[in-house]
């Protein structure tokens, strides 16, 4: 509708509210073992594909992929609408600089140009199969005490038996951490996060708290009615 020559379209933003999802992916050398990296790449690709298909909801899902290995974390995919993401498979090598990726995450979430105030509460998903190899406690404290970044929904997946469950629990809280002992469970975790985020993007209350299911083999996860 117009009033004179001025229309509401002229004075409103042209983009839907973003629903940001940050994937913090451990691609240290150990992830190359036992098919973990292949399963991770497949799970992320499936997630991105599902997000890109999600057109009906009120929110627009935005995704960033932060990979951490070697000495420091890097932005593998900058935060952008999921439909615009061209995902290239991750390689695995080097150490597990968890502190570096947590610092990077806080920096992104605190940046109102990257994550505007009109965005829905971001989801941060941390996946790791090992023990941090850098100083991570201060960066974690920085994230958890940041007035803005601390409001993100935090989920974590410990991959394999060597993952440091205590660290991941400190990151996400006990109820939001699961362990995947096999590739199938890793894929289930990502499928759950995918369904949870897409459900939120369509919901009248997109900031409802996520409840993680058990990833056990016979837990009926595949039949969850979301």
């Amino acid at each position: 509708m117009s009033s004179g020559r001025l229309t509401l379209k002229d004075i409103t933003v042209a983009a839907p509210r973003p629903l940001p999802v940050l994937l913090l992916l451990d691609v240290s050398g150990s992830m190359a073992e036992d098919g973990k990296l292949a399963a991770l790449n497949t799970a992320v690709r499936d997630m991105l594909h599902a997000f890109a298909q999600e057109q009906a909801g009120g929110a627009e899902i935005h995704v960033a992929v932060l990979a951490f290995s070697g000495r420091e974390a890097r932005v593998h995919v900058p935060l952008k609408p999921a439909r615009d993401v061209k995902f290239e498979a991750l390689d695995a090598k080097g150490h597990t600089p968890l502190g570096s990726v947590l610092t990077l995450t806080t920096r992104i979430l605190d940046n109102r140009n990257l994550v505007p105030g009109r965005a829905y509460r971001p989801t941060v998903v941390l996946v790791s199969d090992g023990v941090p190899t850098d100083e991570w406690e201060a960066p974690l404290e920085g994230l958890l005490t940041s007035p803005r970044a601390s409001k993100a929904v935090r989920l974590a997946l410990a991959v394999g038996e060597d993952a440091d469950l205590k660290v991941l629990t400190r990151f996400a809280g006990e109820d939001h951490v699961r362990r995947a002992a096999e590739a199938r469970q890793l894929r289930r975790f990502f499928r759950f996060v995918t369904m949870s985020v897409t459900a939120r993007s369509r919901s009248a209350t997109p900031d409802q708290v996520v409840t993680l299911p058990d990833l056990g083999a016979d837990d009926g996860f595949d039949d969850l009615d979301l």
Binding site: I11, T12, R17, Y120, R148, D207, Q208
Partner: protein, 252 residues
């Protein structure tokens, strides 16, 4: 504040509130509420506008927002009869009255944001008071320029706001207390609108609303509600509420 007999010239007040598409699709009622009212005091006619936006995650958000409007109006009316009283008392009174309004429901279940605009005649001037708790936006356009209040705090995302019924401090209330003369336009917006209108376009929104002023009331309300339902932002889902108030100069 001095007492004066005055005649208000050409004042206009209107507003509208519509349920957002997400609530419509979920068969949920609008969780915003608004009012505009005025009353006479011994120093002139006071104008009051309120917008409350119930927090969507709370089971009684709608009741909380409606209670917020009632409480703000009652508090403002009472407070306006004590010229010179600190604005802090208005805030405290509003908080207490809101809790009484929602009782016996738990306050946390009824959480709501609150925007209040109060225009009190003060001799040949207006004393304008804007209060904001939580997201949404209040704006006042006067001969002194455009001032805005509220907007989402830097640390917040959508739906992570503070409000009546959430833990907060008195200093979470944003307060703007000013004197002005001449014509004043006041705008209150729930976040369903405020988040989609960049601050540099607030004067344009005021201009757009000013363009509706002279329509008959029924046609104006219908046009405004239609515009809010046909909100041009892709994927918009929130309830939307706007209150517009223009008050003329005070004539002794």
């Amino acid at each position: 504040m001095t007492s004066t007999s005055e005649r208000l010239r050409g004042d206009r007040a209107f507003g509208a509130s519509v349920a957002g598409p997400a609530h419509v699709a979920a068969d949920l009622a609008n969780q915003d509420a608004w009012t505009w009212t005025r009353w006479r005091t011994n120093y002139g006619t006071v104008h009051c506008a309120v917008v409350c936006d119930g927090l969507g995650s709370r089971p009684h958000a709608r009741e909380g927002a409606r209670a917020g409007v009632r409480a703000a109006k009652r508090a403002a009316r009472q407070w306006s009869r004590a010229p010179g009283a600190p604005v802090g008392l208005l805030v405290r009174l509003l908080e207490v009255l809101w809790r009484l309004e929602v009782a016996p429901l738990p306050a946390d279940d009824c959480a709501t944001t609150c925007l209040l605009a109060l225009a009190l005649p003060d001799g040949l001037e207006w004393r304008l008071i804007l209060l904001a708790l939580g997201d949404g936006l209040a704006a006042v356009d006067s001969p002194e320029g455009l001032r805005t209040l509220g907007g989402r705090a830097e640390e917040h995302f959508t739906n992570t706001t503070v409000g009546l019924g959430t833990p907060h401090h008195m200093n979470d209330w944003q307060v703007h207390d000013m004197k002005t003369s001449g014509q004043v336009r006041v705008l209150l917006l729930s976040d369903g609108i405020a988040d989609d209108v960049p601050e540099h376009h607030v004067p344009d929104l005021l201009q757009w609303l000013t363009g509706l002023e002279d329509r008959p009331a029924a046609a104006r309300g219908q046009a405004l509600r239609r515009a809010l339902r046909q909100w041009p932002v892709p994927g918009h889902s929130d309830d939307k509420t706007v209150v517009y108030l223009r008050i003329g100069g005070v004539e002794a």
